[in-house]
Amino acid sequence: MAHEQHNYLNHQKGIWSWLTTLDHKRIGIMYFVAIMSFFFLGGVFALLVRAELFTPGKTLFSADVYNRMMTYHGAIMVFMVIVPGIPAIFGNFVLPIMIGAKDVAFPRLNLMSWYMLMIGAAITGSTLFLENVDTGWTFYTPYSSIKTGLGVIPMVLGVFIIGFSSILTGLNFIVTTHKLRAPGMTMNRIPLMVWALYSTAILQVLATPVLAITLLLLIAEKTLGVGIFDPQLGGDPVLFQHFFWFYSHPAVYIMILPAMGVISELVATYSRKVIFGYTAIAYSSLAIAGVSFLVWGHHMFVSGQSEFAGVLFSFITMLVGVPTAIKLFNWIATMYKGSIRLDAPMLFAIGFMFLFTIGGLTGVYLASTGMDVHFHDTYFVVAHFHYVMVGGTLMALMGALIYWFPKVTGKIYSDLAGRISWVFIFTGFNVTFFPQFILGNMGMPRRYYDYLPTFTELNQMSTFGSWLIGTGFLVGLYGVFYALLKGKEAGNNPFGGKTLEWTTTSPPPHENFEKTPVLTGGPYEYR
């Protein structure tokens, strides 16, 4: 302890100093602890849902209990884990350091965002003990507004508050990126992780208010009986879907864009190579963000909206495929003639590309109207979005965790633990979700408590896979504790990264840099 350096972890002491901290790094860690707890809870619900589906008929729970678990699994994972996940944890920690800033633009707002997430999560979580909700995470009307219990009100109120957390974080990141870049860091020199977070922030600020308004309208309908969505009062139930997906489709990109940012960093560092097509990757993030606002109707091809609307949304949805394909090609081109090391984070990056490619290609099936009619609301869709969101985002989250762990804590995360975790998670994902594509082909609808005996084997395979995923994440968690207690000292730049965070100490000092860095070139200059 005698020669311990001065850093943000020992800058102030005590639990109160954490709860009132304005340091983006500490807030990032607080997000990590909170979001990982939610992830654990959502994961337990996932395992229970899969366990129930091990056999047709009743395996463990009644239909009502199953429907509730399925709802909480979805709502927790979407609103409390995958949407805030990478931006709130790693975005908070690395964004200011990567652009050479001392902190985010509005540190108090940043702390407030964390508290809003906690308050929202507490209100939503309270329904677990008060009155369980069984609507599914999409809260479709009129089921949510007239056919189920009052638990929906606190549930969506919590999500409403969590939405504000998301908006404030996004606002903070936009201003930080524009105003606090170090001298010499032009917009075309910022790391791709920052570009991804910046594009995500735009989505958060513009799309989330629509969700907030929609949920308020739902509460108004449920408490005051105003007829917005309820056909018995002259409302339109499909209108809710339009509002809901106007947020929730861009939200898919709020989930995946930060993951893409992480992958860009990992591929460059572990290939020790300048990133291929920096501009294309950077601007394709903005293109994805822009187009994602205009595709929500593809969730509604069979909702009774007009055929013309379906065709138009199908066309625009196809366009999202192009910038996505550009990113994949660029990452792979970055590996060409590189100097590649398969450390655990790189394995997660490769796993991301593998799973995301399957998720992306099957997305084309669903974007094509004639094909979607068959697959809509079947297990094919379940498999598709788990490949994209879970396979993509959680792979990146694990990669990011191991990659930036030394920077955050000063300790090295055991590469062996990372690799074992990867083997379980990667294998588990494919065993769990690939059979679900086949179930979708066979016509098994989603959100089913019970199913025909012909679907049994594939469901059992899927449930078995879920245990592998669970094991993989437990190994990953073990790795965190092991590294904290027994990890080796990291040094400032253990992996040979070229972005600014690797030029400061590990862990960084309170204000990130002893001396403000000055940039003379772009990131990833491996020559």
Binding site: Q232, S339, Y451
Partner: protein, 340 residues
């Protein structure tokens, strides 16, 4: 399972049973093959690079390649062209599946409600599915036996869908077609069957407790069998009209009104309270009040279900106002009187 036939996409999809479903399968094969090729190019390339450019010495340098305009143009433009083909093809298939304006040779009004489908033919034949019998011997199974809806092969069939309560979705995997049933709206599900046989209908829009149980069976038969089936049903309907009020009430209870989906007659709890021993006995309500179940109470419960909520049950029932006739209410009450 025959893994080879994955390539031809025939082993997992149900038999294509309508004119349109073969076109969907052709599009599927194109998607599968083009997707497989794209996957091999991307992931195959990635795997080759991993092994070929593996770092062998710690000071190994990499090439400095910032971009390549031609390559970037090609890998943007080629996917764009392929996706436009898939878009246009999908549109053409979609157009055949929808056929919104077309009148069918046989038209059936389909009403969805929690958790049953009612099929009503132009000549008043009515099928309510599923039945109240279990589908499987398994005591844990919650699936009920789907009732059979008969349609003729080779004709254009139009189902006109609506819903009485929440969103449901009418899905027949073998037809590759699906349409939501939306309260307050009419949507259509048009198809031309080319294969005879039984095809399962699922509900694919989550609709509550018994969502997974909302099944029906569409039986495609030739024209003569269809005519015979209709004649038989019409005769059975005529017979039912000659029955006493309690028997007519029982038919309504189990059939078109679908009461048996939520209310048992043997005292067991399903979704709503059982009707066993209801008539003439005391009912306790959630607000603490109580009343003796008589004609007026039962009528009110059918028309304004939320007026009095039985203690311990959710206010889940929707009103039958406009769906039930005055005599039918009387028949139901007569039937309930028999449930001692």
């Amino acid at each position: 399972m025959n893994w080879f036939s994955l390539i031809t996409a025939t082993s997992f999809m149900p038999v294509p049973a309508t004119k349109e479903s073969g076109d969907v399968d052709n599009l599927y094969i194109f998607l599968l093959v083009s997707g497989l090729i794209s996957f091999i190019i991307l992931i195959g390339g990635m795997v080759i690079f991993i092994f070929k450019y593996r770092r062998k010495t710690e000071d190994q340098k990499s090439a400095y390649i910032t971009h390549n305009t031609l390559a970037e143009f090609l890998w943007s433009f080629i996917p764009f062209v392929i996706m436009m083909i898939i878009f246009a093809w999908g549109w053409s298939v979609f157009h055949d599946l929808r056929r919104v304006g077309e009148k069918g040779d046989v038209e059936v009004h389909v009403t969805a409600r929690q958790w049953a489908w009612t099929f009503k033919y132009a000549n008043d034949i009515e099928i309510n599915s599923p039945s109240d019998k279990k589908l499987l011997d398994d005591p844990d199974s919650t699936l009920l036996k789907p009732e059979i809806v008969v349609v003729p092969v080779g004709k254009t069939i139009r189902f006109i869908l609506t819903s009485d309560d929440v969103l449901h979705s009418f899905y027949v995997p073998a037809f590759r077609n699906k349409m939501d049933a939306v309260p307050g709206r009419r949507t259509t599900f048009t198809f031309t069957p080319i294969e005879k046989g039984d095809f399962t209908v699922f509900c694919t829009e989550y609709c509550g407790t018994k969502h997974s149980n909302m099944m029906a069976t569409i039986r495609v038969v030739d024209g003569e069998q269809f005519a015979a089936w209709q004649a038989e049903k019409i005769a059975a309907n005529a017979g039912a009209n000659n029955k006493g009020p309690a028997e007519r009430g029982e038919a309504l209870f189990k059939g078109s009104l679908g009461c048996s989906g939520c209310h048992s007659i043997d005292g067991s709890r399903i979704v709503g309270p059982s009707f066993k021993g209801l008539y003439g006995n005391k009912r306790d309500f959630a607000d603490g009040s109580s009343v003796t179940a008589d004609d007026a109470y039962i009528k009110q419960s059918i028309l304004v279900p939320t007026a009095k909520i039985v203690a311990g049950f959710p206010p889940a029932m929707s009103s039958f106002q406009g769906r039930i006739k005055e005599d039918e209410i009387k028949d139901i009450i007569e039937f309930i009187k028999t449930l001692k």
